[in-house]
Symmetry: C2
Amino acid sequence: MKNPIENLNKIFDSRIRLGIMSALMVNTDVNFNELKELLGITDGNLASHLKTLEESAFVKVQKGFIGRKTNTTYSITKGGEKAFKQHLEALEKMIGSVK
Amino acid sequence: MKNPIENLNKIFDSRIRLGIMSALMVNTDVNFNELKELLGITDGNLASHLKTLEESAFVKVQKGFIGRKTNTTYSITKGGEKAFKQHLEALEKMIGSVK
DNA sequence: AAAAAGCACTTTGAAATACAAAGTACAACA
DNA sequence: TGTTGTACTTTGTATTTCAAAGTGCTTTTT
């Protein structure tokens, strides 16, 4: 048997970062409050996980306005997409070997 | 959109516990040293993750001998199988929504 | 018989991570 | 002017992770 977890990315061990990434894979741009509601976490907690993902260059930020309100949206980077897909493939492999 | 992570089990956030569970799903009995080598971790680390899984009643222990050497094997419980399958389904759903 | 090695842990301690809550900055609105 | 909303940052605590060392028991080696 082979190590079933060696290809998993440590960054995505966190359920919250996993959630952020899937949201951003499905929707090209998601704003801060949408993410916050979707995941049901506090803003501080969300901000810090987003920071981790930004520092890994998996996620990027766009600052703008809706009307006159500030609106910060997040989207996935090329590298983030690649890393996340690899992670999902590793998960699928693991799931496949189990079923 | 729905929260993609709400059905994930916190116990399985850990890559190592994930690895232990998949190993035990595929192989009915796995001994301590096999697990240790498979996952490439120290014995203390493995023991503590196994303890967490035992305390959740997801894994059970059998102590025996191979010849005259002690041999401890681990296997998954009914409850562990159920919980792990639910977790995998939640992962699959998440992956499905992404792909 | 004594020493060394193997197995399966437990304990210890340090580092990293997670998270809530409170605080901050800035613009808009009343 | 004061309050609200957005998007944070800071702070402090709790939890988790993990390696390393230590333990107890047994077998093997010398």
